[in-house]
């Protein structure tokens, strides 16, 4: 039981964090805060991947010394042949590196849009913007 709780605690916290981010995105009408929520949401997803990649007693997946290549030997578990060390799983790290970059790209475009929206409407509150558009719609028809 304790093993189960300790082994799954991270997931529960990460899920809570994800939902915090999602809640901010959905609930707030402020466009900048929405983007902050998006950032938190995405960062928590990154955490889900990274927590997955951890191996107990592991080290970062970087070899200290590069053994001579070209040998045919295959090693047992993920152990450095020279040092006998366990390494964590590198694949999720790579995926998340990519995802972080994608996240910041989205954020940059989103913020640029926010700046333009503020220039066009004088507000960054979703409700105010909807109201302004609604007034125009009523006036034109």
């Amino acid at each position: 039981m304790v093993d189960f709780i300790v082994g799954h605690f991270n997931y529960w916290v990460i899920i809570t964090l994800m939902m915090t981010g999602l809640y901010v995105i959905i609930s707030t009408g402020n466009l900048v805060k929405k983007l902050v929520g998006l950032g938190v949401f995405q960062t928590s997803v990154f955490q889900l991947y990274i927590t997955l990649s951890k191996v107990a007693g592991g080290r970062p997946p970087i070899f200290d010394k590069l053994p001579g290549y070209g040998t045919e030997t295959k090693y047992g578990a993920a152990v450095d042949p020279l040092l006998g060390v366990i390494y964590s799983n590198p694949l999720p790290h790579v995926l998340i590196l990519t995802a972080i970059v994608v996240g910041v790209s989205t954020l940059a475009v989103g913020l640029a849009l926010v700046v333009r929206i503020r220039e066009a409407y004088g507000s960054i509150e979703g409700d105010d913007i909807d109201e302004a558009e609604y007034k125009i719609e009523i006036a034109s028809s």
């Binding site: 998006l38 949401f41 790209s105 989103g110 849009l113």
Partner: protein
């Protein structure tokens, strides 16, 4: 290696063998080149050229999978689970050709619109972004690796947000439309990433074929089910599945005309394709959990979309928004086909996807041309278009009839097959939904046709004296692009063998054994 050898290598079958990589890489690299070019018209010519080359490569791919073969291409020559692979079969070869053909047509169509709607200083970057979007969409359609799908989904999505926002010069609402699209699209993409992460957690691999193989061996557990739900919702957002479609109407309405054409005929289709790929190839449609999801979630939602969004379309005053709501309704038809879970249903859904791309592309083109010539944005402003712009009005009418599903148009064929597939499953109530939705389509398309042919053109008022109201310029290339699609919408009624054959082959592959 000497130079001559390189040329011969590059010129021969080697180039064709690398077509899967090139069909994605060429638009992406060319997008960067377009930015460097700087000059607007030059960038346009370059983009047309690239779209042509891309279309050529996609035809090569289509040619080689016509018989039901599949091609697997290993990026960087790394074998499957380690490296990223591309996977091409009848299903996505059709889609790749569709995207590249629509890119070409949209570009041919779009120059006069872009010239008018976009700041000349931004033309080069605009076309660059457009090419990146094309590359991203093809990249999604061709990928055989779950995470690679995400990366290219984001390439296409981010460029789409930007392209939609470029409509701001016309109407500031493009900005909010783009922002809402960005928020919902990113939530969708993030849900998809969560799903992929859960799949990776359960299987330890990202290669779609490999995931499929491992899932087939093991009993699905709770992680896999959650992954399924997240992927369906994430891709549902991108496909504009019914309650998740709220970003679509504004994004289509306020984007620049050329972008509206391209998005309406490709973006949701690619998302729909990848949804099918995940539902049928990666997960296995036979599992009881999935069947329940199909019967009790997807099918009802599809029918609600078909009816509710058709009603909404009927009440729109803006032509493009009307078409956008109709698009959500049409996505409902495709999802209905998918949710049947049978080969016939899937084939009908795919066929409808193809036909809908043709007719919706044509409709948006016609509306864009009317907007260019006469500044039309509303349905009641269409009055008398049959006299002022007869060719555009004719194109609009034919495509509109195809949207209703009138015989002699391609829209009839796909609806016919859909009804047959639905009856095979015994879902008579779904037939009712199809009929109701089609009647509603008669209503909203009828409004446009009635305005165009039965009402008189507005007499030029004093305010518009300076504009030439009758002798509107209709750019030749744009008209040609429109008529390619219009003729296509009729042609595929008489000879639906190409899309029908591919859809059948694809459906057979998917239902048969995963198809990866």
């Amino acid at each position: 290696m000497n130079f001559i050898e390189m040329i011969t290598n590059a010129g021969g079958g080697h180039l064709l063998a690398n077509a899967p990589a090139l069909v994605v890489a060429i638009p992406l690299i060319a997008g960067a080149v377009a930015v460097v070019l700087g000059h607007g018209k030059l960038a346009w010519v370059w983009s047309v050229l690239i779209a042509l080359v891309t279309f050529g490569f996609s035809l090569i791919l289509l040619q080689s999978v016509l018989g039901g073969e599949t091609i697997t291409y290993a990026m960087g020559n790394w074998p499957a689970p380690l490296g990223i692979t591309y996977h091409i079969d009848a299903l996505n070869a059709l889609l790749i050709s569709l995207v590249s053909a629509m890119a070409l047509l949209a570009l041919l169509y779009g120059w006069p619109m872009v010239e008018r709607e976009i700041d000349p200083k931004k033309h080069a970057m605009f076309f660059g972004t457009f090419l990146l979007c094309v590359g991203g969409l093809i990249g999604v359609a061709i990928a055989g690796d779950a995470f690679n799908v995400f990366v290219f989904l984001e390439v296409s999505s981010i460029s789409t947000y930007v392209l939609v926002a470029m409509g701001a010069q016309k109407n500031r609402q493009a900005l909010t439309a783009s922002f809402n699209y960005l928020i919902l699209g990113t939530i969708g993409a993030t849900f998809f990433v969560i799903g992929v992460g859960l799949l990776y957690m359960a299987t330890g691999t990202l290669n779609m074929a490999d995931i499929s193989r491992i899932l087939a061996d093991s009993e699905g557990n709770r992680v896999v089910r959650a992954a399924f739900a997240f992927i369906v919702i994430g891709l549902g957002l991108k496909t504009a599945m019914f309650p998740l479609h709220t970003w679509l109407p504004n994004a289509y309405t306020f984007s620049p005309s050329m972008i509206g054409v391209f998005l309406a005929s490709t973006a949701t289709k690619v998302a729909f394709y990848i949804l099918i790929r995940f539902l049928f190839s990666v997960f296995h449609a036979g599992a009881s959990f999935e069947t329940a999801m199909f019967d009790f979630v997807l099918a009802p939602m599809a029918m609600v979309a078909m009816i509710v969004c058709s009603v909404q379309a009927s009440f729109q005053s803006d032509v493009r928004r009307l078409l956008a709501y109709s698009s959500v309704a049409q996505v409902g038809y495709m999802l209905l086909g998918l949710s049947l879970g049978t080969a016939a249903g899937l084939a009908a859904g795919l066929l409808h996807m193809f036909n809908h791309a043709l007719m919706k592309g044509a409709l948006f083109m016609a509306v864009g041309l009317a907007g260019l010539g006469l500044g039309i944005t509303r349905v009641n402003e269409l009055r008398g278009l049959g006299k002022t712009m007869p060719l555009v009005a004719a194109g609009l009418t034919v495509a509109g009839l195809s949207l209703i599903g009138v015989p002699l148009t391609a829209g009839f064929i796909s609806k016919y097959y859909l009804v047959i597939a639905v009856l095979e499953r015994g879902w008579w109530w779904a037939v009712v939904a199809i009929v109701v939705s089609s009647v509603l389509a008669i209503f909203y398309v009828g409004r446009m046709i009635e305005a165009m042919y039965l009402q008189n053109p507005p007499t030029p008022s004093a305010a518009h004296e300076s504009d030439p109201p009758i002798q509107v310029r209709s750019p030749v290339l744009s008209m040609a692009a429109l008529y390619v699609l219009v003729i296509g919408s009729v042609w595929f009624f008489f000879d639906p063998s190409l899309p029908k054959g591919l859809a059948d082959t694809a459906a057979g592959l998917l239902i048969g054994g995963g198809g990866l």
